[in-house]
């Protein structure tokens, strides 16, 4: 089946099997391996990306369902080599250890901050309920999101 979509500003058109998951299409067809797969049960959030501006789990969507969509993955977040403020905040606040959950955490955090630019700690924890981290204990992830919220207040 033919599909087309815009991923990180680039237009793509491919012929794929309907059973291809969106995450597989991104990783295996487009070679965008920044989006990870952490589970088979739609729970971990490692695969979180933005489809038409909203955070979704790309392992729980078929690529054919994203036909015509505009997609952003972790590879598309930086602007001309300049890291996104949320990416910077994760670096500066030790918001990752092994880094496996990080692309999903960052995509989820960017979406959360768009809807709620000044979240409380509790709101951050609730907002990241769909993203599991097996290393950090979440403490520095929450700290990173808080720091990003502060740094983005200048209108970044």
């Amino acid at each position: 089946m033919k599909i087309s979509m815009k991923v990180n500003g680039v237009d793509y058109e491919n012929d794929i099997e309907p059973r291809t998951l969106l995450v597989q299409y991104l990783r295996e067809t487009l070679d965008l391996t920044g989006t990870n797969i952490g589970c088979d049960t739609s729970q971990c959030g490692a695969c979180t990306i933005h489809v038409n501006g909203e955070a979704v789990k790309s392992c729980t969507m078929l690529a054919v369902q994203a036909d015509g969509a505009t997609i952003t993955t972790i590879e598309g977040l930086a602007n001309d080599g300049e890291l996104h403020p949320v990416q910077k905040a994760f670096c500066e606040n030790h918001g990752l250890q092994c880094g496996y959950c990080t692309p999903g955490m960052i995509m989820a955090s960017v979406d959360m901050l768009k809807n709620n630019p000044n979240p409380t700690e509790e709101e951050i924890r609730h907002g990241l309920e769909g993203n599991f981290c097996r290393c950090t204990g979440y403490h520095n992830i929450v700290k990173s999101v808080k720091a990003a919220a502060v740094s983005m207040k200048g209108g970044a």
């Binding site: 059973r19 729970q43 955070a55 729980t60 969507m61 599991f132």
Partner: protein, 282 residues
């Protein structure tokens, strides 16, 4: 590849979806995909054809329609959680929608998909039982309505016919539904409810004049709890009458038992959550 092979087709109208379903024995409707796709990935479900109804915009509206609220079956959990119409007229439903899974699940999952799927561990069933909802189904032989009390009929089983599409959920606008809530004891990782309790309650001079209590997550399918209801109805609303009513929770019902939560613990938590819900409304 995760899922078995299948054909995929997008329905451009409700009528087309119904006829595609009728023409294809082994087909499934695809709404938000957040129950169906996980099941297909594990090959617990292997439909030959997927009929994608997610583009049917006429099923994505929430509106006031005379004496009731009308919720299109393709409204997402997020829409239901954030709708001012739902929050002010039947808060049990927005309460339930707001605690489903996580934000990403709520962005994609739909109320119609959840009610058609009827997972024993789902949130809307308990809330819609409390709210005395009416479901509108369309199939090859036309449209019909199903009352919530007749809807949940077995494990993963609803009164929806094989070829029928759930199109709308209706909730009456009245003071009892406006005084409703849904509380939940979630599985800490998946967030599916071990116990979900919806209550709507009306009172007159401090006396409970009517009450509906719905449980999900507790039994093999969602049920109304007439034991709790009849114990509180007609009684003055206070801590002790509410405690006595809550004590009847799930009495005489078959209660689930799994390696996370035993039957005994689920029964105990049913009482706790029924009490919390009733206290919140009194």
């Amino acid at each position: 590849m995760y899922a078995a092979e299948f054909d995929y087709v997008r329905a451009s109208s409700i009528e087309e979806a119904i006829s595609l379903k009728a023409e294809n024995d082994d087909s499934s409707l695809l709404a938000g995909g957040h129950s169906l796709i996980p099941a297909m990935k594990l090959r617990l479900s292997t439909p030959q054809k997927l009929i994608d109804i997610s583009g049917l915009d006429q099923l994505k509206k929430i509106s006031k329609n005379g004496s009731h609220i009308s919720i299109g079956s393709l409204c997402t959990h997020k829409q239901c959680a954030e709708s001012e119409i739902i929050q002010s007229n039947c808060p049990a439903l927005s309460d339930a929608a707001s605690v489903i899974g996580d934000p990403h699940v709520r962005t994609k999952g739909t109320i119609g998909g959840a009610l058609a799927h009827s997972d024993p561990q789902a949130d809307y069933p308990g809330a819609t039982l409390a709210l005395n909802a009416t479901f509108v189904a369309k199939g090859p032989s036309g449209e019909r309505t199903i009352e919530v009390d007749d809807y949940f009929i077995g494990l993963w089983e609803t009164a929806l016919g094989e070829g029928e599409l759930l199109t709308e959920i209706r909730i009456a606008i009245n003071s009892m539904n406006a005084n409703s809530c849904y509380v939940k004891f979630p599985q800490p990782a998946s967030r599916y409810p071990y116990v979900g309790c919806g209550v709507s309650l009306s009172s007159n001079n401090g006396t409970c004049s009517d009450i509906r209590v719905g449980f999900s997550g507790v039994g093999e399918w969602a049920f109304r709890d007439s034991g709790v209801e009849s114990t509180l109805k007609g009684q003055p609303l206070n801590d002790s009458t509410i405690a006595s009513a809550a004590d009847k929770a799930a009495e005489g019902k078959t209660v689930l038992n799994d390696h996370f939560v035993s039957e005994e613990y689920r029964r105990a938590m049913s009482k706790v959550y029924a009490k919390r819900a009733m206290m919140q409304l009194s």
